[in-house]
């Protein structure tokens, strides 16, 4: 097997240049690459295009990179919980491309899977369809959508081995597996880096072939946006 281990987040992101196109895994604050985001903040890289379903919240996740104005463009499906994101969007300070969530997920998968375009019904008749080719199959109208790729895909997993095989946990999986396939360079940060042979090949979510760099992150905060409990 091929050893993909790097020392830490700093080493993992050391060659990400200004104006790079990044994918960042996560749904809300669940399953986001916290260590790499910190390293990008410290590195101060600018002009980034970030493809991520959300943009974190004002003071956590990608939200921090919006505050420092390191992001030129966001490609996302949902702005909801982030006031600074919505403000920069409405004021025009930040370029934003909003994409239906399923289309975003499928475009990223297509990028990794060598499929340059596909048809989906999402967004037909809406402003998302503007300028896009439509076609009717079996009496229903579909839009043609194209693949999405990134210079660097940055994902977060639960466990990973030195060959880059990854296992996610719970709903922290979300966009991470597709993004792992769609980066020219894919960086994986994991809660636990385990030796080769510790993971059951039958339980791996992302085969190591997609991952170029892996490291064990530390001090995961895993902030919860909506702590909702049953009181009994």
């Amino acid at each position: 097997m091929i050893n993909k281990v790097v020392k830490n987040a700093q080493e993992a992101v050391h060659d990400i240049p200004d104006n790079a196109v990044l994918m960042l895994g996560g749904f809300g604050l669940c399953g986001i690459p916290e260590n790499c985001i910190s390293a990008l903040l410290k590195k101060g890289v600018k002009g980034l295009t970030c493809i991520s379903n959300n943009a974190g919240v004002d003071d956590f996740g990608i939200g921090l990179m919006l505050k420092t104005r390191q992001v030129r463009k966001m490609i996302s499906s949902y702005v909801g919980e982030n006031a600074e994101f919505e403000r920069q969007l409405l004021s025009g300070e930040l370029e934003v491309e909003l994409i239906p969530q399923g289309t975003l997920a499928e475009r990223i998968r297509a990028g990794g899977a060598g499929i340059p375009a596909f048809f989906t019904p999402a967004g037909v008749g809406t402003e998302v369809a503007e300028g896009k080719e439509t076609r009717v199959f079996d009496g229903k109208t579909y839009l043609m959508e194209s693949w999405l790729k990134a210079d660097f895909a940055i994902v977060k997993a639960w466990k990973g081995d030195t060959a880059g095989n990854l296992i996610y946990k719970g709903t922290a999986r979300n966009f991470n597996p597709m993004m792992a396939t769609a980066g020219k360079i894919t960086i994986a940060e994991v809660e636990e880096l385990v030796p080769l042979g510790s993971l059951d090949p039958n339980e791996i979510h992302t085969p190591g072939i997609y991952v170029q760099r892996i490291f064990q992150g530390n001090a995961y905060e895993k902030r919860i946006e909506q702590r909702t409990v049953t009181r009994i």
Partner: protein, 218 residues
């Protein structure tokens, strides 16, 4: 007039045994609380979970287990976890039988708007455009009118739309309505204490009233 829980309670009556259901953020999430005993359904969360359970006890809270509204949840026995691509494959492929979601406006053609107010507010469409373009059966949970008394059941949506000709049924604070294939809102039931005239006044789009309109049984 129904409150949020009342709307959720009425929508729960639409649920059939064996259904896979996607519940949107807000009132739709409350529907889960009112599904009758003996009706087995599976709730899908588009961030990658089939089999959403109740909210966790304090000691069960897991940051890695949330629903599409970012709330902490639990899993029922027999749950499955998957990626966002797989989740929307399920949705787009028609495997989810029923979608319940909120709306800012619905038109008499069944168009829905719920993601953007130009210049004022952008939440983003999230998974809503995929859901409404794909689901066989879509029920909307909404307020009949805005706070300043403007109808939200319109001839034509004024806001940027989320999907066209997709809404099948609406449960509002005032009524249950069916969107007719040829267009128009057919009044099916009145909320407790609400008159047909009140509903007429609150509906800008064409309202079809045929015969006696029963009051909801909750």
């Amino acid at each position: 007039m129904l409150d949020k829980n009342g709307i959720a309670k009425r929508i729960a009556q639409e649920v059939r045994d064996g259904m896979y259901i996607n519940l949107g953020i807000g009132i739709p999430t409350l529907v889960a609380n009112y599904i009758p005993e003996g009706i087995n359904v599976v709730l899908q969360s588009e961030n990658g979970l089939l089999g959403i359970g109740p909210f966790p006890k304090e000691e069960e809270v897991d940051a890695d287990l949330i629903n599409a509204g970012k709330q902490t949840v639990t899993m029922r026995p027999g749950s499955a976890l998957f990626s966002s691509a797989e989740s929307f494959a399920m949705i787009r492929g028609g495997h989810v039988h029923l979608t319940i979601l909120g709306a800012m406006e619905v038109s008499e053609q069944g168009d829905i708007a719920n993601w953007k107010i130009p210049g004022k507010m952008v939440k983003g469409m999230g998974g809503a455009m995929d859901l409404v373009a794909s689901a066989e059966n879509i029920i909307v949970a909404m307020q009949h009118s805005s706070k300043d008394g403007q109808s939200k059941l319109l001839k034509k949506c004024s806001l940027p739309i989320t999907g066209i000709k997709c809404v099948k049924k609406i449960v509002s604070d005032l009524a249950v309505l069916e969107v007719m294939p040829q267009g128009g809102f057919k009044l099916l039931e009145r909320a407790p204490g609400v008159s047909v005239d009140q509903i007429k006044n609150a509906t800008e789009g064409s309202l079809l009233v045929e015969g006696e309109i029963p009051e909801m049984k909750l």
